[in-house]
C-alpha cells in the first residue's frame, strides 16, 4: 500500500497568513488523485488526529481541475501567530510531515 508522500507529485505546506497553514497535495494524474481522495484513511477526522486539532478545524478541499487537494488548518506553533515566541516553522513550509506516511488503499 503506497503512502501519500509516494503517490503525490507535490506535497507542500505554507502559511495562509500568520494564523493558518495550508497544505497542497498534487497528483500527476486523475487516477492517483481519485485514489487518494477515496482512500478510507483520507478523512478530516484522520487529519485532525495527526495534527491534534478538532475535526471541524480541518478544511479539506478537492480541486479536480489540477488533480490537487488542499487542506487548511490552524497554525500549531507560536504563542500568537507565525514568528512569535515558541514558533517552530515561521513560514509553515515543513508542516506537511504528519501526512506523508498516510497509507492510501
Amino acid at each position: 500500500m503506497p503512502q501519500l508522500g509516494d503517490l503525490a507529485s507535490v506535497i507542500r505546506s505554507k502559511n495562509a497568513g500568520p494564523f493558518q497553514v495550508t497544505i497542497d497535495i498534487m497528483f500527476a494524474n486523475a487516477g492517483d488523485y481519485a485514489r487518494a481522495l477515496r482512500a478510507p484513511s483520507f478523512t478530516a477526522a484522520e487529519i485532525a488526529r495527526r495534527y491534534r486539532i478538532a475535526e471541524d478545524e480541518v478544511a479539506l478541499i478537492p480541486f479536480a481541475r489540477v488533480h490537487a487537494i488542499k487542506i487548511t488548518i490552524p497554525r500549531r506553533w507560536g504563542s500568537r501567530g507565525s514568528g512569535s515566541a515558541a514558533d517552530r516553522d515561521v513560514y509553515g513550509a515543513q508542516q506537511h510531515g504528519p501526512l506523508v506516511d498516510l497509507e492510501i488503499a
Binding site: K14, G17, Q20, R65, V66, G81, S82, A85, Q94
Partner: protein
Amino acid sequence: MTSEARIVAVNGMLGYGYELDSLQAGIAARPHLMGCDAGSTDPGPYYLGSGKSLVRADQIYRDLKPALTAAVRNRVPFVIGSAGFAGAKPNIELTLEIVRQICREEDLHFKLGVIRSDVNKQAVIAALAAGEIEPMPGAPGLTRELVEQSAHIVGQIGTEPYIAAFEQGAEVVIAGRSCDTAIYAALPIWRGHDPGLALHMAKIMECGAQCGIPLAPNDCLLGSMHKDHFLVRPLAAHRVCTPESVAAHTMYEQGNPFLLYEPEGIVDIREADFTQVDRQTVRVSGSRFEPSPALKIKLEGARRIGARAFTIAGARDRHVIENLDVIERAVNDAVRRNLNAQALRDGYQLHFRYYGKNGVLGELEPSVVAPAEVGILIEAIAPTQSLASYVLSLARSSYLHCPFDGRKATAGNLAFPFSPSDFEGGDVYDFSVYHLMKVKDQNALFPVELETI
C-alpha cells in the same frame, strides 16, 4: 471596447533578483505598467514591528535600479507594493531613500505618488468599540490593549488608492502594505477591464514567474488583459506556463483555492478555464467577480513581546539523548532557583527544540526512530535583552553540566560549535492584529501624496 493592457511583474519579491534579459523582453513588449511586490507577512511579525526589511537595502537597490530606470526612460508607469517589506512608515522611508538615490544617479524625473498604509490606533480602537472589527480565520481576538501595544499597524491597500494615484498623474507609485492583487489589478480595472479577470491575473502575477516551469519567484512574468480573458507568459525564453502550472499557482498560499477574498469583493474561479495558446503562454477566462456589500480592509499589527537570546549545541551521547526530557526539567528548575525575585516578577520564557528528534514538528512528530545525534536549540525570551541573555546563560551552563541517572559522559552534555556560545537575538514581536476593519472610504484611509522628482 477596452484595449489590451500589458503588465510586467519584475519579480515576486523586490530584492530576490531577476534575469536582465527577461526585463529587456518585458520592455520590448511595450507594457502599460511594470511593478513588483516588495513585502510579505510570511517571515513573521519582526519586519512590521521593527520597521526593518527582510530584504537588505543593497538587494532592493540592485533590483530596482535597472527596472526603475528602464520603466522611466520608456515612460512606463512603475509600482512598488508593500514597500520596504511591511509597508509601515519606516519601511516606506527606506524604499524612498533608495528610489531617490537611483533617480539622482540616473537623472530620472517623474511624478511620484506615495500611498501610506499606516492606520491610526485611535481609529482602530473606535472601530473595535463599534463592533466593526472581526478576526481573520484562525486569528485570536483583539483588545484595546493589543492595539495600544502595537509598534505599527498597517492596512492592506486595495485597488482604489492605486487608481487614485494614476488619476492624479502619478508615473511611479510607492505604496505601503498592499493587497498583492492591487499592485497589478488597479491599472486594468481603471482602464475598464473586468475586475474578476484583473484580480485573478494579479494574483498569479504577484509571485513573478513562480507560476512558470521551472518556477521562479526571481524572474519576470508578462500578463496581458483582454476583454474576456487574460494571458500570462514568462519573459525568460526557457520558462513556460502550462494550464496546470497556472491553475495550481492560483491556489498557492490561499486558504481556499476557489475564492480569492479581496477588499472590494470575491473572485470566484470555480468556472475559470485555463488553456495553452503557444509554447509559453496560458489563456485564462471565466473568473467571476462578486462585489462585497461592505468594504473591509485587512489590518496587520505587530507588538514587541520581549527580547531573545539563544544558543545551539549538539548531543551525541546516547544517554544524554535518552534523557532530554529529564535534563530539560532539571534545567528549568535550576534556572528558576538561580533567578532573583525581581527577574521572576519580570517574567521570562525558556524554550527547547531538539533537531533530529522533533525540532520541526514537536508533539506532532510521528517518527520514533532514535537519532544518533540531536541538535539542541535553547531560547530565552524576557522583557529586556539583558535578562534574556542572563536566563540563557543559566540554562546553558545547567544543561552542559546537568546530572541524570545513568550519566557516563560526566565532563559535559553538549558539544558547542561556537565561542562565544550565546547569541543575542534582539527584539521579538508577535502579530497583535490580523483583523478585518469595516471602512467607508478606502481613499480617505490611504491618501496619495504627490511629489515631482
